[in-house]
């Protein structure tokens, strides 16, 4: 494998690869493509974040101040879609591109050209989403879940969104096939499945989930498209269709999607915590099994998103019990992380701070998830700010915090330079403070009955909304600090040694210089 790869890339590319913009457009190098994924997702994070600032600015006080209701709905819809499909998912694929080949001792991804294509589909889809704000009727406004009848009635913006989702889905499927093939076929001799780093395991399982559910999403939006333009009535009650059918199909995709966005975070945290505890991961095999378990169970719980849509009590109880069972493998994971830290020789550099913050806040999000899984409670809090608070605890302090942990952890390896530790710690503590300021109070708003996706609210919700908006502005500003830290690191950080973190044990630290060379592991490493 290494010899073949060396022939194909070793001679030609090192000497003659294009420079300037063409390097990035034509690249088949996993590190270049990983870098592009990460910058793209950071850019989309700020686009989605700007929409969030708009939402919170409007909700700062009761009454309509800044955004008309229709535009407000477009903001909430596109905020969700851009953050899920444009920021979180591509960021994890960026990590996969950079890290998986280096962690398993492979020279590159299995399908290097398809890798390039997977990435370059993303800016196209993102442009469609952003451009949809400026077409007649504006962007899609029916929520990121685009339930009919709203999505069968919307304007051109909905069509652009459907097309964007198709493209993003194709990109994700290609990316997953690439990741699965790379992990199964390109591991260095001696790197058995059992010895793979946890991050690689979580991505392998995530990639299978993606291949399973992305076609379902593609089918759903295609049915929506034919309902809108080609006279079918899958979801149109007037033609004999069923809008609730859409919800079932959508959430059959949507719930595994939640785990697609959290399993790689588990992987990152499972790399960072052992490193900074200077101990091997406690219960490695249980971690692998728990990840598989979460993935399997995630396919049987989708209808807990639609308890109020109308369902027999047998169905409600089935999905309630199945959902609550997910707490078992998730609890196994939290136990194992805690046990890894127990009596470890711990230090709290920025990646570790974000990982510990992740555990603390993700557990809060997990518990509020169990609360939402209980049917009688869910019927009370459905579509309120309680649900908003719940899933932001899982996706922001879960996925996003883990992404920050991973970024600080691997930045020295990627760039060859250290980030500013003091600023990194500031970034963590400010994020921690403002995140909780923004979202903890939303639990109270939800329990008091404030519905989601509205631009105006009753006066009794005013104080907590003001607090939440102030927190959101602070959180947004804090993320600008992250960009400064990254650019500062790339431009003028101190030179980093090969093994930046003394507790690190994976191949990129033990076998590769810093910064990681453009082509790594052309000859597979010798493993014990």
């Amino acid at each position: 494998m290494a010899a073949v790869h060396g022939d194909a890339h070793g001679h030609g590319h090192d000497d003659h690869h294009p420079s300037g913009i063409m390097r990035w457009i034509t690249t088949t190098n996993h590190k270049d493509i990983g870098t592009m994924y990460l910058w793209f997702s950071l850019a989309m994070f700020f686009v989605g974040g700007t929409l969030a600032m708009g939402i919170r600015a409007e909700l700062y006080q009761p009454g309509i101040q800044i955004l008309e209701p229709e535009l407000f709905n477009q903001f909430t819809t596109l905020h969700g879609l851009i953050m899920v499909f444009g920021a979180i998912m591509p960021a994890f694929v960026g990590f996969a591109n950079w890290q998986i080949p280096m962690m398993i001792g492979a020279p590159d991804m299995a399908f290097a050209r398809m890798n390039n294509w997977s990435f370059w589909l993303l800016p196209v889809a993102a442009s469609l989403l952003v451009v949809s704000f400026f077409v007649p009727g504006g962007a899609a406004a029916g929520g990121w879940t685009f339930y009919p009848p709203l999505s069968t009635q919307g304007g051109l913006g909905v069509d652009l969104m459907i097309f964007a989702v198709h493209i993003l889905g194709a990109s994700s499927i290609m990316g997953s096939i690439n990741i699965i093939t790379t992990i199964l076929n390109m591991r260095a001799p001696g790197m058995t499945l059992m010895k793979m780093p946890m991050f690689v395991w979580t991505w392998l399982i995530t990639a299978y989930l993606l291949v399973l559910v992305m076609p379902v999403l593609a089918g759903t939006v295609t049915m929506l498209l034919t309902d809108r333009h080609f006279g079918t009535s899958f979801f149109n009650a007037a033609g004999g269709g069923d809008p609730v059918l859409f919800q079932h199909i959508f959430w059959f995709f949507g719930h595994p999607e939640v785990y697609i966005m959290i399993l790689p975070s588990f992987g990152i945290v499972s790399e960072v915590i052992p490193t900074f505890s200077r101990k091997p991961l406690f219960g490695y095999s249980s971690m692998v099994y728990a990840t598989a378990s979460i993935a399997i169970l995630s396919c049987f719980v989708w209808a807990h998103h639609m308890f109020t849509s109308g369902m027999p009590v047998v169905g409600q109880l089935f999905f309630m019990y199945a959902t609550m069972l997910i707490a078992v493998p998730t609890g196994v994971k939290v136990f194992n992380w805690t046990a890894t830290m127990w009596r470890g020789s711990m230090s709290f550099e920025t990646p570790m701070l974000f990982s510990v913050g992740f555990i603390f806040l993700f557990v809060i999000g997990g518990f509020s998830g169990v609360i939402c899984a209980i049917v009688p409670i869910d019927i009370q809090v459905q579509d309120t700010y309680y649900v908003i608070a719940h899933f932001h605890y899982v996706l922001v302090s879960g996925s996003l915090f883990a992404l920050f942990a991973g970024a600080y952890y691997w930045l020295p390896k990627w760039t060859g330079r250290m980030y500013n530790e003091t600023l990194g710690k500031w970034h963590f503590w400010l994020s921690m403070f403002f995140f909780n300021l923004t979202f903890f109070v939303q639990h109270f708003l939800g329990l008091a009955g404030m519905p989601r996706r509205i631009p105006d609210y009753a006066l009794q919700f005013a104080d907590f909304n003001m607090v939440s908006s102030l927190g959101a502005f602070g959180f947004g500003m804090t993320q600008v600090l992250f960009v400064y830290i990254v650019i500062n690191c790339i431009r003028s950080g101190e030179k980093a040694p090969q093994k930046v973190w003394d507790g690190a044990t994976t191949l990129e630290w033990t076998h590769l210089p810093t910064p990681a060379p453009y082509h790594s592991f052309e000859k597979p490493p010798v493993l014990k």
């Binding site: 219960g283 099994y289 990840t291 598989a292 378990s293 049987f300 493998p329 196994v332």
Partner: protein
């Protein structure tokens, strides 16, 4: 050598069931896991997992029916 092979064959169905059940619980000893990785074929685990999934759904449904009866 032959003895080991026959022992593995005998243990296979139970071994798959154990591996799949452990996966559903999320808890597995490292030594057992290593044994799984060496002895079980991917197809066995996939089929075992599918059967396990069906059994999981049936058992939750039975529980639900028992509760609402």
């Amino acid at each position: 050598m032959n003895k080991i092979d026959t022992q593995q064959k005998k243990a296979t169905v139970l071994q798959i069931a154990r591996a799949v059940l452990s996966a559903f619980m999320g808890i597995r000893k490292k030594s057992d896991h290593e044994f799984d990785a060496e002895t079980l074929k991917p197809m066995q685990v996939i089929i075992g997992g599918l059967i396990g999934g069906v059994l999981f759904v049936i058992s939750v449904l039975l529980l639900v029916n028992f509760v609402v009866r």
